[in-house]
Amino acid sequence: MNPQEASIYAPRPATLLQVENLTPQEKLFRLRLDDGCELGQQPGQFVQVSLAGFTEAPISLASSPTRQGFFELGVRRAGRLTGALHQLLPGARIGVRGPFGRPFALEVLRGRQLLLLAGGCGLAPLRSLIQYCGDHPQDFPRVHILYGARSPADLMFQQELLDWRQIPGFSCRYTVDNRPATSCYNGETGLITRLLDEIVIDPQHSCAVIVGPPPMYRPVIAALRRQGLVGEKRIMLSLERQMRCGVGKCGHCTIEHLYCCKDGPIFWLEEIEQLRGAL
């Protein structure tokens, strides 16, 4: 393609460097752009992954820009494109557009005590922020990570969940909704809100970030408010929407007057709480 004729819909070729099984449904894909450039993402952004014959799907970036030479995507097998993606082996080439979307507001989070809450495969996008915080310990001295999954088999990044506990100033707890009788899992069970209620924070100097499935938001927000996180720029969340284009044109991700792909996917709670259908 002639660069003079660039199109907002044209994917850039990228090569799959490594594939790692995270859970039976999720894999971590490590990629590098074929032109050798860094992707240039900020934590919280996403890319449109393109496979010829399967169109595109929005996938959150799971790695921090502080990790150079590659970028990572945590992908749940949920449809035709992600099913095809799960069949790929290292060396395969795919297309990528982006990074797109509004990232986490690092400038606001910096210096605050952070509560990072993830549910299900929401840990993948939150991982980009966790890595970023871990790589800038002077800016993020106190970080609590709370993670909930359905079952022990659904826990993503299991080794990293343990590794994050070793970072000075970090804590990391995780829980599962259900522990099958046959499981050797001996960790915590119950909803993520129970972990949250047990944490002691300084509400005046704290911010929370939530990334998870839609049913998780309201109970977690209520628990955070019980902790004293009220007012503006206290709770930030990432909204999941169908995004066909990633650039605010296709109309599938609108939340009233907002376009989730351009105005989000990261929002402050007060920006979307009153919009119908946002939560």
Binding site: T55, R76, C250
Partner: protein, 327 residues
């Protein structure tokens, strides 16, 4: 300055334009309907009902190739048109629809696929006594290069851009022509539907329309999506891949917010999971969300959705009921 022209002069003007542009003009293939057809045509339909399909489809067609992906991962973009389009016969509402899409698709990042067709296109409005049975249609007043105002047996030509003035330059001046009365008449025609939309929008903003209303309207919707398909400002699309030999053609296709799959996510979560929510969204988006986002209604009062809807829930019918019940 207004110019004047009769039918032979109009044909001569269109011939000259067709030498430089891919000209499309209104024709009447069957009683009661008009559409834009490639020049030359045997007879130009110089008055009649709104053009159907909507003229915005010239730049944002129902299916449109975005790019072609080669087997070697190469990307090929569609070629620009050999000659730019010239559309003649656009009513004020048609031009407002195009202006709406111009602004939407040029918002950063600009949509190159739309602009490839829209760039350099010539827009020619048609107003005055050119509606059904020569009913008066409001003056365009802008959003086009020039407009022809039907009056008596001829037209007044009014330029709105330097390019429009260029095309009208050799026509004689319309001595004594005065648009004052036509402007007043136009303002009245424009104001009435705007008032209805404004009253409905206010009720929506004030949350005075109960869910029950949307459930009732949704029960009447047969999901034909005609409202979206004929609306000149509807711009939602989905993307599909089509195998062409060893290549894949990626194209966009109009989509409809009335369909269940419109917002359904891969996880199964659907923010618009009921017909009532989707019906409310169609109206709320045009009357509240679009003004908040773009500063104007997403309805140009063309009446197409009301004419197309088989169950009488086009935007005007719906707004009339809404205002009558909840004001």
């Amino acid at each position: 300055m207004l110019k004047t022209l009769d039918l032979p002069a109009l044909r001569q003007l269109l011939c000259a334009i067709a030498a430089e542009f891919e000209l499309r003009v209104p024709v009447q293939p069957a009683p009661g309907m008009r559409l834009l057809a490639p020049w030359p045509v045997a007879e130009i339909a110089l008055f009649g009902p709104p053009l159907q399909p909507k003229p915005t489809a010239a730049f944002f067609p129902q299916t449109q190739t975005l790019l072609t992906l080669g087997a070697d991962a190469s990307v090929e973009l569609p070629s620009p048109p050999v000659r730019p389009l010239a559309l003649f016969g656009l009513a004020r509402a048609d031009l407002q629809g195009i202006a709406f899409l111009d602004r939407f698709f040029s918002a950063p990042p600009a949509d190159d696929v739309y602009q490839r067709l829209r760039r350099d296109a010539l827009l020619i409005g048609l107003s005055g006594n050119c509606g059904t049975e020569r009913k008066f249609l409001p003056l365009a007043g802008g959003h086009c290069d020039f407009e022809l105002i039907a009056q008596g047996t001829g037209w007044w030509g009014r330029a709105h851009t330097p390019r429009g003035a260029h095309w009208l330059r050799e026509l004689p001046a319309a001595e004594g022509a005065d648009l004052t009365w036509l402007n007043e008449k136009s303002a009245q025609l424009i104001d009435e539907p705007q008032q209805l939309l404004a009253r409905a929008a206010k009720l929506l903003v004030q949350e005075r329309v109960p869910e029950e209303f949307w459930r009732e309207i949704a029960a009447r919707c047969i999901l034909c999506c005609g409202c979206n398909q004929v609306c000149p400002t509807c711009n939602c699309f989905c993307v599909e891949d089509q195998l062409r030999g060893t290549n894949v053609e990626r194209r966009r296709v109009w989509d409809s917010c009335q369909l269940d799959a419109f917002m359904r996510e891969a996880s199964g979560h659907n923010p618009l999971g009921t017909e009532a929510l989707r019906t409310r969204r169609r109206i709320f988006h045009k009357l509240v969300a679009d003004p908040q986002r773009w500063g104007e209604y997403g309805c140009v009062a063309c009446g197409r959705c009301d004419a197309a809807c088989p169950t009488g829930i086009g935007i005007f019918a719906l707004c009339e009921q809404l205002v009558a019940r909840y004001s």
